[in-house]
């Protein structure tokens, strides 16, 4: 199911362009497909910007077994990476665990690890923590928000991430509005602010 983006705000032109900008930046970081629904509140006159993102699934830690296929031959385990995005992370994790002398990169996506008898051991190595996707989404949201809107608060629990931003003091009513949106996104209901 494609991701749904709802934009509300006081500036009609800005709403349309920020929707495109948001989708483009999320696509750039490779997270648009993982988003179920996004809700953007744009009030440039206040200024107040709220972006709330509901992910399709709770981000989980990625292990080598998930991003690559492994097989063992004598005392060597061969790793064949299936998702190129995780190639640097896989190599880094293997170097860290077994040392550079025992890890040989055969070509771009194939790695041989010497001195390991079981592929299960390699499968269990973590290449990306469950926090990494959230950090990437937050990075994209910070890029969407205007540069001068520097006072920011983030709510990130379960599968919903909400960022509220303003230029000067963060007023209680701004945080309240963001909380209402955050809770409504968690429940998956209609948002009325």
């Amino acid at each position: 199911m494609p991701s749904e983006t709802v934009v509300t705000g006081t500036d009609e032109y800005g709403n349309e362009r920020y929707k495109a900008l948001y989708e483009e930046l999320m696509y750039d970081v490779g997270k648009l497909a993982a988003v179920e629904k996004s809700y953007l509140v744009l009030k440039p006159k206040v200024p107040l910007f709220i972006i709330s993102v509901k992910m399709k699934a709770l981000p989980a830690a990625k292990t080598i077994g998930v991003v690559a296929s492994t097989r063992s031959e004598r005392d060597t385990v061969y790793v064949s990476i299936s998702d190129e995005m995780y190639a640097p992370g896989t190599l880094r994790a293997l170097w860290h665990r077994y040392g550079r002398d025992n890890v040989q990169q055969l070509d771009r996506l194939d790695i041989a690890v010497k001195g390991v008898s079981s592929s299960f051991e390699v499968d269990e190595i973590e290449v990306e923590s469950n926090e990494q996707p959230i950090q990437e989404v937050l990075g994209a949201l910070y890029r969407v928000l205007p540069e001068g809107i520097r006072v920011r608060r983030t709510f990130a629990d379960t599968d919903v991430i909400t960022v509220v931003a303003t230029e000067e003091k963060m007023q209680p009513e701004m945080l309240e509005e963001a909380t209402v949106i955050h809770e409504a996104m968690k429940k998956g209901g209609e948002i009325d602010v």
Binding site: D11, Y13, G14, R143, E147, G148, I149, R150, E167
Partner: protein, 312 residues
């Protein structure tokens, strides 16, 4: 009548082209060599254009129109950050470059924000050194209107405002407005985007045409290209490794050598039997000491100064 055109082609047999330009009494305004490729912006007499075009074709190059040749344009954004600077600003700067202008991309130190945005005197003085300015703003109408009034009204050179929505009530702050661009996260490569780039270039051409018209009423004492030819033989400029060590403006030049070190030598150069220091105002650039501005005095200004000297 002179015409400005650009040769775009290979380096092969380019010496023949330079010889022909010299033979017809033309001037090379800018020469840019990248590996085996060469672009030459030249000013040649109109009647000799077919001859130059034929040679360019013969040596395997193309001839392009360059309506903005001989100008230096500042493309300014609120900051140098990734929110403001990339894509539209770079694309506009590149497009103007293809039209023959020398472009400089700048960001303000404190241009971001709605309530905290500002432009200081040093920034306006630097922008005022250029022939024209393209100022880029964002997607929200209220922000564009507030910031145009705040930032653009302090700039004293012809300015084109490029923004997203159509602003209202800010016509007095700039000379032309191009709307429908705004903040983007991707290159301007769609047909609609290319059309907008053309529109920006057309508006810049128009405001510079007005400036040229104003200059024609009381033209500079010498044409900037004549001073350029003179300066090219000055060794520090000849040896300067910076790209485009001499940049032409409509009413003068920018020479990219130290003002402190070379002011005296340049002032004492002779043009039409006069010291360059007498027919030009030479000042250091506001950016830093590594370049200087040479503004050519108008004919009436030189005549007036002559009459004052005669009275003494």
């Amino acid at each position: 009548m002179y015409e400005v055109i650009m040769y775009d082609g290979g380096i092969y047999r380019s010496d023949e082209l330079f010889e022909l330009i010299e033979d017809v009494g033309g001037v090379v305004l800018m020469k840019n060599r990248s590996s085996q490729m060469l672009t030459v912006t030249m000013s040649i007499p109109s009647e000799d254009r077919p001859l130059v075009e034929a040679l360019c074709k013969d040596i395997g190059g193309q001839v392009r129109e360059v309506p903005l040749a001989g100008t230096e344009i500042a493309v300014v954004g609120p900051t140098l950050g990734r929110h403001h600077m990339p894509h539209p600003i770079c694309d506009i700067a590149e497009y103007l470059r293809r039209c023959g202008a020398i472009t400089v991309v700048m960001g303000l130190a404190r241009g971001r924000g709605k309530l905290t945005s500002q432009i200081n005197l040093q920034e306006t003085s630097i922008i005022d050194e250029y022939d024209a300015c393209v100022f880029m703003l964002g997607n929200f109408k209220s922000c564009v209107e507030t910031k145009a009034d705040l930032l653009l009204s302090k700039i004293n050179i012809p300015t084109v405002l490029v923004c997203g929505p159509k602003p209202e009530g800010i016509e007095h702050t700039c000379d032309a407005i191009v709307y429908g661009v705004g903040r983007k996260a991707s290159r301007m490569r769609e047909p609609a985007d290319r059309q907008k780039l053309e529109e920006v270039s057309d508006r810049v051409e128009e405001i510079l045409a007005d400036k040229k018209k104003a200059l024609e009423e009381d033209p500079p004492f010498v044409h900037p290209s004549e001073i350029k030819s003179l300066l090219e033989n000055y060794e520090p400029i000849n040896m300067c490794l910076r790209p485009a060590p001499i940049v032409m403006h409509l009413d003068g030049l920018r020479a990219k050598i130290s003002y402190e070190e070379h002011r005296e030598a340049i002032e004492n150069m002779m043009v039409y039997g006069r010291r360059l220091g007498d027919v030009c105002t030479i000042t250091p650039s506001k950016i830093n000491d590594s370049s200087m501005l040479i503004r050519i005095k108008t004919r009436s200004q030189v005549e007036y100064e002559d009459s004052l000297k005669a009275k003494q």
